[in-house]
Structure formats: C-alpha cells, structure tokens
C-alpha cells in the first residue's frame, strides 16, 4: 500500500516536502506515516514566524494510538500553518498529501531541499522498515 507521489521530496522521519513557485515549501507527513499512526486526534503545529532547524522537532501529531513529533525537513522560517487541522485532525488521515498539509516554510538554504530524499529513495526506506 505504498502511496508515494513522484513529484515530492521526503525525509527519513516521514515528512513530505513540496517546493512551491514562490520559493517556500509545503510540508506534511506521508501516507505511510499516517497509516502507521492510525486515526489522528490532535495536531500541534508551529506558528508563523517560528524559526525551525533542520531535523529538529517543530510540531506534534497524536493519534488514538501514539504521539509523534513532526520534524522540520530543512532550516528556515514558518510562513503559514494549516490551522484547519486543529479542528479536523482526521484530514491528515484522509488526505495526507492534499488538505492534510501541515505548514509552509521558507528555507534558509535551498540546497537543503535539493538534498532531501526523492520518491524512489523514500520508497526504499519504507520497504526496508517493513522487514
């Protein structure tokens, strides 16, 4: 059941990253991550203006089963958080790559984005975790 869009970038901690035309990136958690967690009940996101550091936690998702940190895929400044998720966290399960996006971030260094995993590398990571 791998659902890994080809046009996105990925992290080892199961976030997806979509580069936008304005230079910002949109970040969410992957289909695989939401599937492992199960039904989401709370999403706690960084506020706009927050400076985040690559690989450091910047938010939390909690499902009925477990809590998990959300990590900043690259360093930069949060431009916008998807505040709609606080009222409907289940959107993360229903549409993880669409309306379940978590925040937009302005990367400090574009090279960090380019260095993220591509779909093929992420697929290999997911496959290796299943064994």
């Amino acid at each position: 059941m791998s659902n890994i869009p080809k046009d996105l970038k990925y992290t080892k901690s199961h976030e997806w990253v979509k580069p936008n035309a304005d230079g910002s990136i949109t970040v969410g958690i992957t289909h695989h991550a939401q599937d492992l967690m199960g039904d989401m009940v709370f999403v706690d996101l960084p506020k706009a203006g927050t400076q985040v550091t690559s690989g450091k936690e910047c938010g939390v998702v909690e499902s009925v089963k477990a809590a998990s940190d959300v990590y900043a895929p690259v360093s930069g400044e949060i431009v916008e958080a998807n505040v709609a998720l606080s009222d409907s966290p289940e959107t993360v399960n229903k549409d993880p790559y669409g309306s379940g996006w978590m925040f937009r971030l302005k990367p400090a260094n574009k090279a960090e984005v380019d260095a993220l995993l591509d779909a093929k590398a992420y697929e290999a990571l997911v496959a290796s975790e299943k064994h």
């Binding site: 199960g38 039904d39 009940v41 706690d44 909690e62 009925v64 809590a67």
Partner: protein, 364 residues
C-alpha cells in the same frame, strides 16, 4: 506469524489492518477506529473475539471448585445461564486473570478468559482442578466468538440469524445466556452498550459473520474495542490489573465476595488483611482538561497525596477528549485536580468517577 481465528480470512477480505495481540493475528481496524467506535455507540458493530479462551469445566462438584477458585462467589448463580464476572487470584491476592463464568447446569460451568493469558490460566486452572479432583477441564478450541454490540445490535442479530432467536435471546436480562441450537447467546459485552456475545462452532463463524454484515453490522477492530471499554470504565487485564495488584486496588472490590466470611477462596487471606488495614491504592478515572492524549504508564502527581500512574490512557471519541484509568493513593478524591507529565509538559487532569460513557451518553 501468530494464531489465526476462524474469521481471519473474513478480516483480510474486509480490509483489516492486522496486528499481533497476545500471539494472535487480529484486526486493529478496518479503515478508521474512531468511525468504528461511533458506529457501536450510535448503531451497532461486530467484533471477532474468538481469540478468547472458552473453557468448559464439568464434574459433580464443579460449583464447589469455583467457590474455591474465584474471588467472586458462584453461589450468586442460581438460575441456569446466569453469568458472573470474577478475578482469578494467586494465593497472594494478585490477579492472574479476569473472566466470566456461566452456570450451564449443576455439573457444568463455562468460563471465558483472556487470550494473552491463556497459557498461565490453563496451567493454574488445570493444577487447581487436579488437586480438587473429579473434574474435567476442556478448552473449547472448536468454537468461535462474535460480539455484536450497540443500541441496534440485538435487532440486527435477529434479522441476520433468524427470528427463532428473538424470543429466547430477547428475554435475557443482562449477564445471562441461553443456548439456541448451535448458538450460545449471552447478554454480556465490553463496550457499555446493549448487545450479545455469541459463542458458536468455528465452522459456522465465517458464514455467520457474513450474514451479520449483510444485515448491516459493520466489523469493528481491537482499536475501537479498547476505546469503547475504556469509556465504559471496564478494566483491561495486563494494563489496569495484574499479578502485582489486588482487585481491591483495581476498582474491582465489587467483584470480590468477602461474604459469607466462611467461604475460603484462593487469595482471600491477603484481601481480608488489606481490607482491615485499609487499601493503599485505588483506581480512579481521569479527564484531561486541555489538549493531548493521556498514555499508559504516565506519572500522576496528586498534591499532598503522593504519586500514581495511568494504567489505561487514550482518547475518548465520544467525549472528544482524553480520558484514563489511573492507580493513585487512596487519599485522592473525586473532583481533585492532579498533574500528569505529558511529554515533558505538566497537564491538569480532573479525577472523576467512571464509567465515562454508558449507553451512548456521557456520565461525567
């Protein structure tokens, strides 16, 4: 690869996410555990509980045996088919397992025990029965068990499995059972809703499951089973009590029959002593006042009374907030505020009387 119930293929066909539960490959959910939870509260749903351990004990002195074996008193079982919830205790008063015992007839009692404790339960019961003498202990590995729960559960069961069930099963009071043909139908459950638990031949289980589903009963996984039982304030063995805790410290004093005082049962001495000296710890309900989810084993700080621990913490889909059962010092009272360390941040919880939800409605 774990054990599989007779309904394993049905689960796969219905898109179950399968997980290991006490050595069994069981459905966690069939898509969304929260939606499944709501279905049971608002309409109905069915659970495969065939992993549970059904054991028939027979012999002329079977009642005397259970009088000794169980903390609750089987003398409360006066009519055939009546069920009783009890703990099975060690000599030290620790809980080996919790179970339901049915009075089938004067020479036959049936017990339903947990799956994850099967081996130690059987070792204990077999050893006790051998010492007692004159009994046969038969694990019913030839049966399956389906729980159908929810406000519309009974009606759907009659629709699916035949009108012949309506009169005998419909007449059952709570915690009673009746045998109709090959079906053993009991008004028991683990959700706080109306419904039945049905024990049936393994061979008949896949077809019966399908008939129920065609009558509009959706399958419900173990995920929702856990949040439903927690809302209903029902203990989970291994989380809320185990061999290191007595039933008196686990919210189960109501299941311990200390009267009549001359009934000897395994573990009694410790319970008598604990009761006389005062039970040091108690199980209480907690409601988290803010956002987040309480989790098992989180520490509970109770001002002036000491510390406790969450034994079952989760999210209540009905109340849309986090609830928990916790073992705390005896001095803690309903209405008190305590503090839980929630992932490094202190969070305030309110101590409440449970159940949290009964028959679809909030009790807190």
């Amino acid at each position: 690869m774990g054990f599989k119930t007779p309904l394993y293929d049905n689960h796969l066909k219905m898109g179950a996410k399968v997980v290991d539960f006490g050595g069994w490959d069981m459905p966690l959910h069939y898509g969304s555990q929260i939606e499944e939870h709501h279905k049971v509260r608002q309409d109905c749903g069915m659970f495969d509980v065939s992993h549970m351990n059904v054991v028939d004990v027979k012999g002329a002195n079977v009642r005397d045996f259970f009088r000794l074996l169980l903390a609750n008193n089987v003398d409360k079982l006066k009519t055939k088919g009546k069920a009783l919830y009890s703990c099975l205790l060690t000599a030290q008063g620790g809980v080996i397992d919790d179970l339901i015992v049915y009075y089938m007839d004067d020479q036959w009692f049936r017990v339903v025990m947990n799956a994850a404790t099967r081996e130690k339960d059987m070792a204990w019961v077999n050893a006790a029965a051998k010492e007692f003498g004159g009994l046969t202990v038969t694990p019913r590995n030839d049966v399956a068990m389906i729980a159908v729960q929810g406000p519309n559960a009974k009606e759907k069961v009659y629709q699916a499995l035949g009108e012949a069930l309506r009169a005998p099963a419909g007449a059952l009071k709570p915690f009673h059972a009746v045998t109709v043909g090959e079906l053993f139908v009991a008004t028991t459950g683990y959700t706080g809703e109306d419904g039945f638990e049905i024990i049936l031949p393994s061979k008949a289980a896949p077809f019966t499951w399908q008939m129920l589903n065609e009558a509009g009963v959706p399958p419900i996984g173990l995920g929702a089973r856990d949040t439903l039982r927690l809302e209903a304030g029902m203990n989970l063995y291994g989380s809320d009590m185990d061999e290191t805790t007595t039933p008196l410290e686990s919210g189960l004093a109501w299941t311990v029959a200390l009267e009549p005082a001359d009934r000897k049962f395994i573990g009694r001495e410790v319970l008598d002593k604990q009761k006389a000296q005062g039970v040091p710890r108690q199980l209480v309900g907690l409601v988290l006042e803010g956002k987040g989810v309480l989790r098992n084993h989180q520490k509970v700080m109770c001002d002036g009374a000491g510390e406790g621990e969450i034994t079952s913490g989760s999210f209540s889909p009905t109340l849309e907030q986090s609830i928990a059962l916790a073992r705390v010092p005896a001095a803690v009272k309903v209405g008190d505020r305590c503090t839980v360390d929630l992932r490094g941040k202190p969070a305030t919880v309110r101590v409440v009387k449970y159940p949290f939800v009964r028959n679809g409605k909030s009790c807190i």
